[in-house]
Amino acid sequence: MDQRSDAELISRCLEGNGGAWEELVKRYKRLVFSIPLKWGLNRDDAMEIFQAVWLDCFRELHLLRDLDRLQAWLVRIAVRKCYRFSQQKRGKPEAIEIKETDRWTEDPSPALVRRLDQEQMIRSAIALLSPRCTQVVQALFFEEPFPSYATIAARLGLSTNSIGFTRDRCLERLGKLLENLGYVH
């Protein structure tokens, strides 16, 4: 399954295509929402940051169309907003490192950026899997509690004996996709 690039989606937005905007938001909504939560803000504050980041993104679309990676821009803006928000309410959590270049140009730490990158790559790679492998990987990593292999096999209409092979094949594919996306340990 191919994904349209960020640049392509931004161009479509600027042509008045609301569907492209929807695709962009759905692609990065969890990344953006995760940043204030990682920062230590509560969900209400995180919702405020989330909306503010996307509003800025919408208003900056004409400047973002030539950007290679919208993701990095979203992370930077979200971190800045978290920082300013925290400055107004309370101090930043100790776990978060920021590089303070001046009062309004805080940049996220390389460690935070790398972690967010890795997480987003996993989301992106899963989105590129076949529907069957998506189902397997979702069950393996995202279900709580972990479903039994018999349950996963039953959902897929497979025998319990063959689920191990299917699991390995889907994990191999996911690993390959991550490699292609440039996942770095």
Binding site: W104, R167, L171, Y183
Partner: protein
């Protein structure tokens, strides 16, 4: 185990899933095998993400508010009509022409984009912070009556403040700290941008500079 005899992806997955230590032989292999380490790493990240991902899902009502931005034809039309304003006068850069006041205490600049004129004043307060005041005038927009019009103060893409307009097109940003700003002016059918106003922390350097 030979070094090229990799751990199966199933074994690696199970070690992540049940958070169990690999046996000694596998541990030794892992220490010398980049491929297996990489696999273990991304599976660990995926497992960690899997535990947190439900929390990272924003509430649907909030997502819908954001999606609504792209469902407004006027907003999309405005995005497509983006104009960079040009500097037409700078009181620190040239003698003031007739009709433009320059008393030395404030820097005045004017910009033009299409038929819209934008006047800016930068003043230093007693506390040392800067105030940016402005006025937008246009023959086609005799009065600012649309409440959806606004001016955003932007730092590196981050819209740090928003000002509404007075009925006469005036806007105000008090207490500015040194930084590199741009202004985004949203009018009914277009978006105007003044790309770069640097406020620097040096009284001797005349309060601000403008990148052209």
């Amino acid at each position: 185990m030979e070094n090229n005899d990799h751990l199966t992806i199933g074994i690696l997955f199970e070690s992540v899933r049940i958070q169990a230590k690999l046996d000694k032989e596998s541990q030794f292999h892992l220490e010398t095998c980049g491929l297996c380490r990489d696999r273990l790493s991304w599976m660990q990240t995926a497992a960690d993400l899997g535990r947190q991902e439900p929390e990272y899902e924003p509430p649907p009502a909030v997502v819908d508010k954001v999606l609504q931005l792209g469902r407004e034809p006027s907003a999309l039309k405005q995005l497509g009509n983006f104009i960079v304003a040009s500097l037409t006068f700078d009181s620190f850069g040239e003698a003031a022409p007739e009709g433009v006041r320059a008393d030395g205490s404030a820097r005045q600049m004017t910009y033009r984009a299409d038929d819209v004129d934008i006047a800016l004043w930068l003043r230093r307060s007693e506390e040392g912070t800067m105030t940016l005041a402005g006025q937008v005038t246009s023959k086609s927009l005799p009065r600012m009556q649309d409440n959806s019009d606004y001016v955003d103060l932007v730092v590196g893409g981050d819209h740090v403040r928003t000002s509404s307009f007075s009925p006469w097109g005036e806007f105000l940003f008090p207490d500015l700290m040194p930084s590199s700003y741009s202004l985004h002016i949203s009018l009914a059918d277009r978006m105007l941008r003044i790309p770069s106003i640097h406020i620097i922390d040096d009284e001797k350097s005349q309060q601000c500079s403008e990148s052209r």
